[in-house]
């Protein structure tokens, strides 16, 4: 599923198996492209263009890099620029870091004001003529430790601030280990802005720290580049390259899939939040945080049966609840009778704006706005919660898969449909969750109505699939085909919703009730 070839092009379409399956059956006009992709002259651009599959409106081009790739990329750029400027690689690396890896700006500044640039970057004079070395100087007393033993080894860059080698090392250890600095460590002298160059560091950095030091240098390389970001998953070492710029983020939601399987937004590095643009995600999370006390009780995991009022705990992802006591079947989200949901599902999905007649009453207005918020929050939180429960169920399902193999004689491959279904559920819940945050900020118009129809369709498909997970193992074997169909259908509904939303986002035809800043 994910490309094993580290150097290979990895698009959203090829990294999600289920999506790929979809693209053959659903035909979309997918030549929507952001104009800015062409601007960056990155190494992979040429091949990417040739290989790029037709993208859906909600997919972006990106590439995943290993630490080795990042190092190689850095080395290549240093070598290339060193050649151009006729500077040693060490000095070039410092210059590149100084201009935050903006090659064009470096070359321009170098041509315009070479001395000034070298000075600012802490390279004052040609270091190749005067390689850094430790020296023993008669009568030297170290200003840091006050040591003046004869034969004391000391070091100074050409700024002349000389300290004993132990103090210099101790200082570097503090900067690298304690403060996580690497690319821009300054001379320990008071107020001295001279940056310690790579050659001096080679001489001074204790060997046990060189690995950490290089790691930090690599960090700054990625941090400095607008088109590179670290995968935010804990312990993940990959970085992702994507051409989507900050200014485009109201027009596209750049979801990327790391090789570690984590899906995140390249714009804000939060977990994948399609179809909701970053700016609305930020507003929404802030709002939820501010209103968390009100919202907390809503998202609580227990509710009363609307008929007999016994307490019911939700123990699976499905919204179709059956009260153990009175057998009343109802919908967890709207508490409405379940049998009505076949024809009037929208009761559960839409919030009917109250008529404006009582809106003049300020109190009613504020209550209405809270109700409106809670309506969306309730559904948002519900899908978040359900996704967690679905995950639990899947872990139990893994055991079911093993049982199923032995009881039905199915092979491991043949029971994979359960894993596919579980993954589809997770993904669709993630999308659904954010559709409610998105919908909260939408003005009411025809386009919003279409969106809510799509949302409703996806929601229904998800609940249908989720319900199947609660079947017992012996029933599952016979339901394989049905489950696979429902999985496919879910993913299709998701693609339709995402594609439609993304196209309108790109064309900026959505009408929001807040400013997109």
């Amino acid at each position: 599923m994910d490309s094993d070839d580290e150097g290979g092009f990895n698009s959203a379409a090829s990294s999600i198996e289920l999506d790929e399956e979809m693209s053959s059956s659903v035909d979309f006009d997918s030549d929507v492209e952001l104009d800015d992709y062409q601007e960056d002259e990155t190494a992979f651009e040429a091949t990417a263009k040739d290989l790029a599959p037709r993208r859906k409106a909600y997919e972006v081009e990106y590439r995943v890099y290993s630490p080795k790739d990042i190092q190689a990329q850095q080395d290549d750029q240093v070598a290339e620029v060193a050649n151009l400027l006729e500077q040693p690689p060490e000095a070039t690396a410092i210059l590149l870091r100084h201009v935050r890896w903006n090659k064009e700006r470096l070359i321009e500044q170098y041509m315009d004001a070479q001395e000034e640039l070298l000075d600012k970057a802490g390279l004052g004079q040609d270091i190749s003529k005067n390689p850094p070395r430790l020296q023993v100087i008669d009568g030297f007393c170290c200003d840091i430790c006050c040591e003046d033993t004869p034969g004391l080894e000391s070091f100074a860059m050409n700024c002349g601030h000389r300290f004993c080698v132990d103090c210099y090392r101790q200082y570097l250890v503090q900067k690298i280990k304690g403060e996580g600095e690497a690319a821009r460590i300054k001379c320990p002298g008071d107020g001295c802005n001279k940056i310690i160059d790579a050659k001096s560091l080679d001489l001074l950095v204790p060997t046990e720290l060189t690995e950490r030091y290089n790691e930090l240098l690599m960090r700054t390389y990625v941090d400095d580049k607008e088109n590179l970001k670290w995968c935010p998953a804990p312990n993940c070492v990959y970085a992702v390259e994507c051409g989507v710029k900050k200014r485009d983020l109201n027009k596209i939601v750049p979801s990327v899939h790391c090789d570690c399987k984590h899906a995140f937004c390249f714009g804000c590095t939060l977990a994948d939040h399609q179809p909701c643009p970053c700016v609305l995600v930020k507003k929404w999370l802030k709002k939820c945080e501010d209103d968390s006390e009100t919202a907390n009780w809503i998202s609580a995991n227990t509710k009363e049966c609307p008929k007999c009022h016994s307490t019911i705990e939700k123990n699976g992802g499905c919204n179709h609840m059956t009260c153990r006591k009175c057998k009343n079947e109802f919908c967890w989200m709207c508490m409405g009778v379940w049998s009505e949901h076949g024809t009037s599902w929208y009761n559960c999905n839409r919030f009917e704006e109250k008529s404006g007649s009582d809106a003049r009453d300020a109190q009613a207005k504020s209550r209405q706005s809270l109700e409106r918020y809670l309506h969306y929050y309730n559904r948002y939180a519900n899908h978040e919660q359900s996704a967690k429960l679905d995950k639990d169920i899947f872990h139990k399902t893994e055991k079911k898969m093993t049982l199923l193999q032995s009881s039905s004689g199915m092979s491991w491959i043949e029971v994979q449909f359960l894993e596919a279904a579980s993954q589809a559920l997770q993904q669709c819940r993630q999308t659904l969750k954010w559709t409610y945050a998105f919908a909260y900020y939408l003005a009411r118009n025809n386009q919003t109505a279409i969106f809510e129809d799509n949302q409703k369709d996806l929601e229904m498909a998800v609940e249908n699939l989720s319900e199947m997970f609660e079947k017992s193992t012996d029933q599952l074997a016979g339901l394989k085909v049905e489950m696979m169909d429902k999985t496919t259908y879910c993913m299709r509904r998701r693609v339709i919703l995402l594609d439609d939303t993304a196209k309108n986002l790109k064309e900026q035809t959505w009408e929001f009730i807040v400013d997109m800043v």
Binding site: D143, I144, C145, C146, E147, Q170, G178, P188, G189, D190
Partner: protein
């Protein structure tokens, strides 16, 4: 390395016990790791000329690579107040770039910190606490060196 800070501190102490600029005096250094200094501020109506302020310095084994922890103390006897200043919280914590990792240089020392603080007070024109003082003092449980002050204004 443990010996580094001791030797340096002993040298600093020897110098401080000799001469110090006017208005700065050593109160105690019985423990080499914790010193107290008194500071008066000349020529600023905000601070009475005869009212000394007490500074406490604590040194980690990593001093002077690491800055010392330096705070103003409020004491009953002899009475010492925390000087009012837009960069000094009422619990004595000082927001001065010289004292955090970015601004500290191992070449600085107790004397140079005292001189900086003295001139920071001497040039002050606002008899006020930093914004959010009450909240900060009520909630802060961190040590000064672990706080990332966002508010550095060298002009005050």
């Amino acid at each position: 390395m443990a010996g580094m800070s001791s030797k340096r501190l002993q040298k600093e102490l020897a110098k401080i016990q000799g001469t110090l600029p006017p208005g700065i005096s050593l109160v105690s250094a019985d423990n080499l790791r914790e010193w107290q200094m008194d500071l008066t501020v000349p020529d600023n109506p905000i601070y009475p000329p005869n009212e000394p302020y007490r500074l406490r310095f604590q040194f980690s084994p990593n001093y002077p690579i690491e800055a010392p922890e330096c705070v103003f103390l409020a004491l009953p006897n002899p009475e010492r107040k925390v000087p009012i200043h837009p960069h000094i919280y009422s619990n004595g914590i000082i927001c001065l770039d010289l004292l955090d990792a970015q601004g500290w240089s191992p070449v600085h020392n107790v004397e140079s910190i005292c001189i900086s603080l003295q001139s920071m007070l001497a040039s002050n024109t606002k008899a006020e606490r930093p914004p959010g003082d009450a909240e900060f003092v009520a909630t802060n449980r961190r040590r000064p060196r672990d706080i990332n002050f966002l508010y550095h204004d060298p002009s005050v």
